[in-house]
């Protein structure tokens, strides 16, 4: 019954999780929130992570009721993500692995999301829509690779929403996307053009509804295309943007029309967290993967399909 400790900090969330045999024993997390109108920069984000990571580690062990001797493997995010935050987390993972004399495992962040999504929802072989501030991909598993069927050709959908929130100085607490969603719910008018002026006043909620309807419809279309190509009867949404209820509704409509089933997780697991790295690490550990210290460097670009998924048939 191996227990795996997972460290995640590739963007503005820092999390440490413990997973043992399909059970999440602990998953504390902190978010670095910047003032409205600003985004998070690598150096400041790394500083935030460095300040809290050792406390989070203790919290995770305490919550799981485990000591270092009970942990069998240290997993961490090798990439993709922002450089300085990734390094800050990786050095702790390496130090802990050496101090406790445990094997180290570098995990692909996207695969962490996928494996946690599969664990929590029980979906067997879904087409995956991975949408977050840093990534937008449609992924299907085939012959030991998570194949990227479609992706953004420029910025991630969450990045688009975050930047939009920044322009309007919408609060980043708890996340800009969450606040956009709440405001968009109150929007009553869907407009074709994002320009609404009422006399001397302006209205922004219509713009936000427009943003959501349009970008989410785009995502539904490419997911549907991948499902048609693969003959898939399951769809799984992972990544922070997956928390958005409107996106889930639109995906559900599409799935029902196809006679397929939609899976999604709640904010504990669709937002970046340590347990998802631990879960992917658990699968990899069981399958015999190891990351020697000398090869444990982080990488800001780490494609989902670079990893050989030996733990699935």
């Amino acid at each position: 019954m191996p227990a795996v400790l997972g460290f995640e900090g590739s963007a503005n969330k820092i999390g440490v999780g413990v997973v043992r045999d399909g059970k999440v024993l602990a998953n504390p997390r902190r978010t670095y929130v910047t003032p409205p109108g600003t985004g998070f920069l690598p150096g400041d984000t790394a500083r935030h992570h460095r300040a809290v990571i050792l406390d989070l580690l203790q919290e995770a062990l305490t919550e799981a009721g485990l000591t270092s001797e009970d942990i069998d493997c240290i997993a961490y995010t090798k990439g993709p993500g922002m450089g300085a935050p990734l390094v800050s987390v990786a050095v702790v993972a390496r130090t802990v692995a050496q101090l406790w004399n445990k094997p180290l495992l570098g995990v692909n962040h996207c695969i962490g999301h996928i494996e946690m999504g599969r664990l929590i929802t029980g979906a067997t072989n879904p087409t995956v829509l991975y949408v977050s501030g840093g990534n937008t991909q449609v992924i299907a598993y085939s012959e030991h690779r998570y194949r990227i069927f479609g992706e953004t050709i420029d910025i991630a959908v969450g990045n688009c929403l975050d930047r939009f929130a920044r322009v309007l100085k919408i609060s980043n607490d708890p996340s800009p996307g969450y606040n956009i969603e709440q405001m968009a719910k109150r929007g009553k008018k869907l407009v074709e053009l994002p320009y609404t002026v009422k006399g001397m006043d302006v209205s922004f909620s219509g713009i936000l509804s427009f943003i959501e309807e349009t970008v989410f419809a785009m995502l539904v279309e490419i997911t549907e295309r991948a499902m048609a190509h693969c003959g898939s009867q399951e769809a799984l949404i992972v990544g922070g943007v997956g928390c958005n209820v409107r996106l889930q509704e639109m995906m559900e409509t599409m799935c029902q029309e196809r006679g397929a089933r939609l899976f999604a997780t709640d904010e504990r697991f669709c937002i970046d967290n340590g347990a998802m790295i631990a879960q992917a690490g658990w699968e990899m550990f069981q399958a015999g993967h190891r990351t020697p210290l000398s090869e444990s460097g982080i990488t800001q670009r780490y494609r989902t399909d670079e990893v050989e998924v030996t733990w699935r048939d």
């Binding site: 460095r50 050792l54 450089g83 300085a84 130090t95 210290l293």
Partner: protein, 173 residues
């Protein structure tokens, strides 16, 4: 932590085995203490002054008993690349409680050290209980850009080792 003058990183004189390492410490009164950066000497076969700087650096480790001892046979491999003419070299010496801890820190920090190697060269070594880090670049500004985040990561590793501690059987020696 102590920054020591590593400029005579010309201690890569091939005739002297011992001097092929970063000088562990330049103690004693005078020049090196408090001096963080020195320009590398002007080439090997250069005129008198350049050679004298290099020789001084070569001679000093033999003459001194640096605290913690100058390296023994069990050290990590020496640093082999000598700075080119005009390059700036900065050496950092970080004392740990034991050689084990120093090497642990090295292995935690080294894998990401190669990320921006175009403009600067960063090298690690362990000498006794000291972690040695050496930056070589054309311009001090590049070294400063690299060193600031490095010190943050190093500080985290030190806090990490302190907070978790070594298990009893890996005790300090």
């Amino acid at each position: 932590m102590q920054a020591s003058g590593g400029g005579a990183g010309g201690a890569e004189d091939r005739d002297d085995q011992q001097s092929s390492r970063i000088p562990a410490c330049q103690s004693g009164s005078g020049s090196a203490e408090g001096e963080a950066v020195r320009r590398a000497p002007q080439g090997r076969g250069g005129p008198g002054r350049g050679r004298a700087v290099m020789e001084a650096a070569v001679a000093r480790p033999q003459g001194e008993q640096a605290p913690g001892g100058v390296g023994s046979a069990g050290d990590v491999a020496p640093l082999a690349v000598r700075p080119r003419r005009g390059e700036v070299v900065l050496t950092l010496r970080v004392p740990f409680q034991s050689p084990l801890e120093a090497d642990m820190a090295r292995r935690s920090l080294l894998p990401d050290a190669q990320r921006h190697q175009g403009l600067i060269r960063k090298e690690f070594a362990v000498n006794g209980s000291d972690l040695l880090v050496r930056w070589t670049a054309d311009d001090l500004a590049f070294i400063r850009l690299s060193m600031n985040p490095f010190l943050d990561q190093l500080s985290l590793v030190i806090r990490n080792i302190r907070s978790l501690g070594l298990p009893p059987r890996q005790s300090r020696s």
